[in-house]
Amino acid sequence: MKICVLVKEVPDAAVQKKIDPATGRMDRSGEKNLNPYDTHAIEAAMQLKESGAMAVDEVVAVTMGPDSAERALHKAVSLGADRSIHLADDSLAGSDVAATGYALSKVLEKEAPDLVLLGQQSDDGECYTIGAVVADHLEFPSLTQVIKIDVEGGTKLRAERQAEYGYDTVEINLPAVISVGDAINEPRYPSLKAIMGAKKKPLDKVSAADSGIDAAKVGGDNSAAQWTGSSEPPKKEAGRIIEDEDTAETVDQIVAWLDERKLI
């Protein structure tokens, strides 16, 4: 069996994110890293493989993004993926969620995985929806925000997740697409050896044409959701900030603040 894990390169959490005022796209310059939520998806794949619950032959990391995104694949491989695929093509730049999901599904179609795993959200895009888009194109059943996966009889998963009324348990037949919540596991740290060896593992760079992607459906101009401008939210008065140096004093200040507002 084959598991494909979707991973993305995102600006490092410490980088102040901003928007390019000319295009409305995120300014993605600066330090970048593998989307932290995706490490949980890789870990989930590794645990399925190592536990023997599923006969996993291969874990393949897949990303769509600019040249620099290769580093996210190296990281994914250092965390255990056997090989990786980089969908890179200038024509894909600026694709919206629907176009990105479509493009990724074309790459996945060629791989014919038994299971597609992805993160609960991307640190920059925050749409939580790529999985649902990919699943519909692949015609696979799908579930997002999954925090527990049990394998039943090798071809069926029992998944748990929190939805709007509490926890749901759902049975899903493979092949399937599952986005995992960050509570599903504690991702491992890569060993030095794995980091050193990551660049030697096979990395396929594929173009939109290689993947059979319809050029009319991708890229900023062809995306169906169009950014048409941005504005500033109404300014909220900044709150008061106390740096805790002397805790007794801090607490006095908190109590005085609460007392002024008749909250005690």
Binding site: E126, S142, T228
Partner: protein
Amino acid sequence: MANILVYALQYEGAFNKNSLGAVSEAAKLAAEIGGEAHAIVVGQGVSDDLAGTLGNYGATKVLNVEGPEGLAQPVVDAMAAAVAAGDYGYAIFGGGLLGFEVGAGLAARLDAGVAMEITAVRVEGGKLVAERPILGDSAISQISFRSDVGIIISRLNAFEIKETGGTAAVESLSVEFSPFSGQATMITRGEQRGADVDIEGADVLIAGGRGLGAEEGFELCEALATAFGGNSAVAATRAVVDAGWFPYAGQIGQTGKTVAPKLYLAAGISGAIQHKVGMQGAENIVAINKDANAPIFEFSDLGIVGDLNKIMPKLTEAVKAKKGA
């Protein structure tokens, strides 16, 4: 293409509040673009009477579909069938989880544009423009659609519920579900993990997050809530509920409760959007976090940068002393 289709989520005989808000919003927008708001309900044996109550929020027609509940893909099938048979320019979803999944799946099915986390929609030249706050709500993107159908998924509590006293015609729509929709089966739904705590009625909420470090960390929150006394309670983030540290009934946010206490005090909570949407209506927001860059300080009235393990016990003593005085 002037009509708007709204997904109305129902569970155990009641419609989700966010769905009702979406119906109200769609009715308002449809009137502005010269169309009607229609709702679609998918469920097992949903009565036409229940479906018809959506008329009171502005829907003129309700499509009642017999199908599995709690899973997104059957709803995508149903909405795609409704769009194929009707005259829809937009589909609108209230915030939650299923709405995100259904909306995204429908975008894929219809080759449509989708915008999520929408907090406002306005009409420009007869078309809808959606507003999405981004980058921790520091900017707002305006999004319009080039596809035949534009899909709008709102943020939790973005739309106001308005009762109109209207009525809706209920039609049943029979849907042929796609084979892959049937590959997922609900085994148990809506399991309430943990005790049944009440956070919606509280005036003071002491909320704890992953920064508490362990389940035992909640003792600090309980102690402070007890010190406040009266109508106070302890609440939590999804991170700690998923970890099993606190009951689901005490969770604030997108897939939990919406609260508006007089005082909300966060201990070790980062302030993720999905949490914020459930508590931003609080009158006074206080946050204790050791990371000066935590997003929660962006919307706190009083922010304390420091270690909760040092501050909470002393604060509890001070509140007790003040109460005793």
